[in-house]
């Protein structure tokens, strides 16, 4: 095996995404579009969390906008965003050379392995909301966490078989690294040489400002609590009706509504636990039902 080489840097944030898309498409992944609901992480897209369950093989990759209301900083922090992108890849079962495939994807976006220090540092991932955990690493590039790499072991509280390999790239952070930019809003969104050059700030700064105000000041807690209860009963009803996919959607909705309530600081730690338990119950319930139905369909 000869020493690996890197391609030239991408021209922009979107170019970086396009390279990842092309690369993972070439590895046989279905390139999906973002899930059309508010989620806190790419993992929560049913294409990952639900497809990791059941006996069928699966490969997919997609960009997922992620909303974390409490992380918003009114556009004033160069590193923190309430809305950002994750690039998500799932390969089920994981191919034996997944680490190599992953490293090649970094070379694809211009990270030279002969110049940069790439490390796999223990980090066991878990998402109690969907009853999922796996073993893997944070991948560090010169001390910066650029991806999360996980072999799923359980989802929805159930052992998975076959095992999926899951990769999550924090796109903004990765891009800031590749482009040597200190402020996320300075990232070139499209090619700086194009007719209308746009920065990340041109696209998202105002959104961060307004969404932060909403998240921290303006969200109507009472209404959100009503919504939460509504989503909860809808999800339960759908589960009763044997429809795990929409039941899962409403679990996601409840989860996001909870995140909004939480960002408003309207919940004490004990209440918080109770909310999390309720969301977990919905998400797990849907996941378990989906797994059961997948087994039945495969049989």
């Amino acid at each position: 095996m000869s020493a690996p080489t890197a391609r030239e840097k991408p021209a922009s944030f979107q170019d970086l995404i396009l390279r990842l898309q092309a690369y993972w498409a070439a590895q046989g992944c279905a390139i999906l579009q973002p899930y059309d609901m508010e989620v806190g992480a790419g993992t929560l897209h049913p294409a990952t969390v639900l497809r990791a369950l059941g006996p069928k093989d699966w490969r997919a990759a997609y960009v997922q906008p992620s909303r974390r209301p409490a992380d918003g900083r009114y556009g004033e922090n160069p590193n923190r965003l309430g809305h950002y992108y994750q690039y998500q890849v799932i390969l089920k079962p994981n191919p034996a050379n997944l680490q190599d495939l992953y490293l090649n994807s970094l070379y694809e976006i211009g990270i030279d392995p002969m110049v940069h220090d790439i490390r796999f540092v223990e980090d066991d991932w878990e998402n109690p909301t969907v009853g999922a955990w796996g073993l893997g690493w944070e991948v560090w590039c010169d001390g910066m966490e650029v991806s999360q790499y996980t072999y799923f072991q359980q989802v929805g509280g159930l052992d998975v078989f076959p095992v999926s390999g899951e990769l999550t790239y924090g796109l903004e952070r990765l891009a800031m690294y590749v482009f040597g930019v200190d402020n996320v809003y300075d990232l070139p969104f499209n090619d700086p040489a194009s007719a209308v050059p746009l920065s990340y700030g041109d696209v998202f700064l105002q959104n961060e400002r307004e969404q932060s105000a909403f998240n921290f000041e303006l969200a109507d807690v009472e209404m959100l609590q009503t919504w939460f209860t509504g989503c909860e009963s809808q999800s339960k009803a759908l589960r009763e009706a044997g429809k795990p996919l929409p039941a899962y959607d409403y679990a996601l909705k409840a989860s996001h509504v909870f995140n909004l309530i939480d960002a408003r600081g309207a919940i004490s730690p004990t209440e918080r636990q109770a909310f999390i338990a309720r969301v977990r119950d919905l998400a797990r319930g849907a996941a378990e039902l989906w797994a059961k139905q997948e087994e039945e369909r495969a049989a």
Binding site: M1, A3, P4, N79, P93, N94, P95, A96, Q99, L103, D112, P113, M114, V115, H116, D117, I118, R119, F120, V121, E122, D124, G134, L135, G136, W137, C141, D142, G143, M144, Y151, Q153, F161, P162, V163, G165, Y177, D182, V221, E222, Q225, A266, S268, P269, T270, E271, A274
Partner: protein, 840 residues
């Protein structure tokens, strides 16, 4: 002689697991060989981020032949016995058995089976898969479609014996003689046939330093070197060194730099930020001893650009981390400690023992009581206790829990600076950058910042600040012990409250299990007391702690807080009730139920946050309809007729015990627990710990006096007089016991001097009276040497008594009187120790 080389090559193994896995693999392999009857020579064990390897030399090519004998029946035994023997031994005819002679038993049959040795390849091919399948990792996983579990996917198995591959397959993975090197700097693959070749190829072509020890030394040496070259000094960190040794196959140490402006942050914060998040070593300036604006990172590659990009990248990441830390630091400094303390009611200390706020309340009360005994101002001790845990809700401690106390100290000093009580060099100039940039603080809040400092002088503020940091100490046998009075008061109060609390709910350490570190807390109390010579009567203070634990009524806290913080969580209040009821139930036999239900009703009424009603609605009792305490009370009565308090109590009914008795039992038990810690402490200090029981048995609970007494006693027993007197005591007690048993009565009381017949009786009794008086006076003055010396005077008269007096005299009244003299000896010696508890 042949060599075995085994390498298990996987994806990255967590650094913290490598060393243990290396030794486990070594043990499993050598044990397996020993069990197969194979002797071996030198064992080499290696481990790193992607591999575990063991090489064993001095191995035979096959295991030794073994001859196994099986005894059979006598020659001429019945046919049935012979047939049974043949079957059991696997023989077809009795001719195959040997005949041996025994001088007593005569001739008998023996089946001799020669078991030829097995080729080592076969033994290894069986052993290794068995070890791999049964290997224990702290956490293991499956991958792909496989069933095998390993810490991360297992990629290759090299298994070479005597230069040749030992063939086997584990879950589809075939053994071979090919391994890989560093992922980008010499990947290979490399064919290996011996340890030598393995080492040479991987080290020279594969860029892998195989041995942990080599990597550790290499990193240490390089780190010191890069620092020295820049005129700096490495801040050593053994734990971190071990970790980074497990993170690089080809360690390259790089010195990076950071913005010196970050050095405003407390050194502890910078160092932890580097260590926890980035695994960097901190660097100090040898001239000042302070941190320098640099860090040491261990990379896993010799970069083409000499490490420039790596240093720059790491610098950027560290800046982002320290920016976060600065954000926490600025926010925390702009939040008064009192305000932080107010939030402690949302964190459980232990479910049955209430929240941290509850604990703080108890510790404050106890610290106040203890203060005069340790020479501290009670007001300061109480103030310090009330602030001691506040930093638990600070942003910095949330990020770095290790900094509890340390940050609180900084924040208290900060308040002192802002109040102008503590001089602040920096503040005389410009404000800090963060304040200018408008961290989220209003001027109103800032004016409230100096709250607790009110009318305190610099020394007092510093005493409070130090107590906040020191009250967690000592954390173990070698940790530093608080020495300042206020710190001592709070540290003792905190630990006593914890211990008494856990004893009260009967969650004591058992065997090796001590999840709440109660042994450490008790040892801490012992060390603080002894090393500061604090005079406490531990029994009283334990009792006091118990009383505080069960007496502080929660209603006081409610009224002391705003409705927003205390009442925003009715569920929380309910838990308080449970807590209170459990304790009240367990320790007192009063019927306080009504009071608490009323308080709950009041709390519900006072809470004006709508969602609280939702909570109450979910509770098993529905009192949410009430909008006035009286209505709530009436509502409870209506829906739970009879005894409403019963409702709350019933969960705990099963746990009902003999309450007063239990408190007593727990107190005694806790005292014994302290005695054990004291023994441990003295043993570790190389002092006599075997005498503790004899002194403790007297009911002494002042640890300082116990230790003094033990020292004096130890010295005394080593003198001839002491040893003789101990023997005399024994003789007296043995006689007494025997006679008491015979008579079924106890000989207590003073002898009648008019019945003395012989001089030795008179002399002994006079000596006992004189020595006892002298000893009492000495004990009163805590002069244990003198007390022992006074008793030493008894030796001669005791010896004379036993030599000349017949205790069991004919006349019963004479016998009785002489036994009472023996009893007086016992009583006299009992003043300094319970001699019956001394080892012979």
């Amino acid at each position: 002689m042949a060599e075995l080389l085994l390498e298990l090559f996987s994806e990255e193994i967590p650094a913290r697991m490598q060393a243990k896995a290396e030794s486990d693999l070594r043990d499993a392999l050598t044990r397996g060989l020993t069990e197969a009857g194979v002797e071996f020579g030198e064992v080499t064990a290696l481990s790193g981020p992607r591999r575990l390897a063991i090489a064993i030399d001095g191995l035979p090519e096959k295991s030794a032949d073994v001859s196994e004998e099986k005894k059979g029946p006598k020659v001429g035994a019945p046919e049935q016995a012979v047939q049974g023997f043949l079957r059991g031994a696997g023989l077809t005819s009795i001719d195959q058995a040997e005949v041996r002679s025994d001088p007593k038993k005569g001739d008998f049959y023996v089946a001799v089976r020669e078991i030829p040795g097995r080729p080592l390849e076969d033994i290894i091919a069986e052993l290794v898969p068995q070890i791999v399948r049964g290997f224990h990792w702290p956490k293991s996983m499956r991958w792909g479609r496989g069933e095998l579990r390993w810490v991360r996917p297992l990629q290759r198995i090299v298994c070479v014996f005597n230069g040749k591959t030992v063939e086997f397959e584990i879950d589809g993975l075939k053994s071979g003689n090919e391994t890989e090197g560093h992922r980008v700097q010499g990947r290979g693959p490399f064919t290996v046939s011996s340890l030598d070749e393995y080492r040479t190829k991987l080290q020279q072509e594969g860029s892998v330093v195989l041995s942990r020890e080599d990597r550790r030394l290499l990193i240490e040496e390089q780190a010191h070197k890069v620092c020295a070259e820049a005129g700096l000094e490495l801040v050593e960190d053994k734990g971190l060194l071990e970790e980074v040794t497990g993170l690089a196959e080809w360690p390259v140490v790089i010195l990076g730099d950071m913005d010196p402006a970050f050095l405003d942050l407390p050194g502890e914060v910078i160092q932890l930020s580097m260590r926890t998040h980035q695994k960097y070593f901190a660097v100090r300036d040898p001239k000042t001893g302070n941190l320098a604006p640099h860090f040491v990172v261990v990379a896993n590659i010799e970069a083409k650009d000499g490490g420039k990009a790596i240093a720059a990248g790491n610098r950027k990441v560290l800046s982002a981390r320290l920016d976060d830390a600065r954000f926490f630091w600025d926010n925390d400094r702009n939040t008064p400690l009192e305000k932080m303390a107010g939030k402690l009611s949302t964190i459980d200390f232990k479910k049955e023992l209430g929240t941290i706020a509850d604990k703080v309340e108890r510790v404050a009360a106890l610290a106040r009581e203890l203060a005069p005994k340790v020479g501290a101002d009670p007001d300061l001790a109480e103030k310090a206790a009330r602030l001691a845990k506040a930093d638990l809700v600070s942003e910095m401690v949330f990020e770095f829990p290790e900094l509890q106390g340390v940050m609180g100290r900084y924040y208290a000093l900060e308040a002192g600076k802002r109040a102008g009580v503590i001089p602040d060099a920096k503040r005389s100039g410009t404000q800090s950058a963060a304040e200018e940039s408008g961290a989220r603080t209003s001027s109103d809040e800032l004016s409230g910042m100096t709250g607790f400092v009110d009318r305190l002088d610099e020394a007092s503020v510093r005493a409070i600040a130090d107590a906040i940091a020191m009250h967690y100490k000592p954390q173990g046998p070698s940790d530093e012990v608080p020495t300042e009075p206020v710190s001592i008061a709070v540290a003792l109060a905190d630990k006593l409250d914890t211990l008494v609390g856990f004893w009260a709910i009967d969650e004591k350490p058992t065997g090796s299990k001590d999840p709440f570190a109660l042994r450490r807390a008790a040892l801490g109390v012992v060390r603080i007391i002894l090393e500061n010579e604090v005079r406490l009567n531990l029994q009283d203070d334990i009792l006091k702690t118990f009383n505080i634990l069960i007496s502080i009524p929660f209603a006081d806290y409610i009224s002391s807080r705003s409705s927003e913080t205390a009442l925003s969580d009715v569920e929380h209040l309910i838990r308080r009730h449970e807590f209170k009821f459990k304790l009240v139930h367990d320790f007192l036999s009063n019927e306080n139920g009504q009071f608490d239900v009323m308080e709950l009703a009041k709390a519900v009424h006072l809470s004006d946050v709508p969602q609280n009603y939702d909570y109450v609605r979910q509770l098993p009792i529905d009192i949410s309809a009430a909008n006035h305490p009286d209505e709530a009370w009436a509502f409870i009565h209506r829906n739970h007729p009879g005894e409403p308090k019963k409702y709350f109590l019933e969960d705990n009914e099963g746990a009902q015990l003999n309450l007063a008795g239990r408190t007593e039992v727990q107190r005694t038990d806790l005292l014994a627990f302290f005695a054990d810690r004291l023994k441990q402490y003295l043993r570790d200090a190389g002092a006599r710990y075997d005498l503790i029981d004899a002194v403790f048995a007297l009911g002494e609970d002042d640890l300082v006096l116990i230790v003094k007494r033990v020292e004096a006693l130890g010295a005394f027993l080593e003198t001839e007089d002491g040893a003789n007197l101990q023997a005399g005591y024994k003789r007296a007690v043995n006689i007494l016991r025997a006679e008491e048993k015979k008579d079924g009565a106890e000989f207590a009381g003073t002898p009648d001097t008019s019945l003395f017949e012989q001089d030795e009786e008179k002399a002994l009794y006079a000596a006992i009276e004189a020595s006892s008086a002298e000893a009492d006076a000495a004990l009163k003055a805590e002069d244990f040497e003198r007390a022992m010396a006074a008793l030493a005077a008894l030796r001669a008269p005791v010896d004379a008594f036993f030599e000349h007096i017949q205790v069991n005299a004919e006349k019963p009244e004479l016998r009785q009187n002489r036994l009472l003299i023996l009893n007086s000896i016992r009583d006299a010696l009992q003043r300094v120790a319970d001699f019956s508890k001394l080892a012979a």
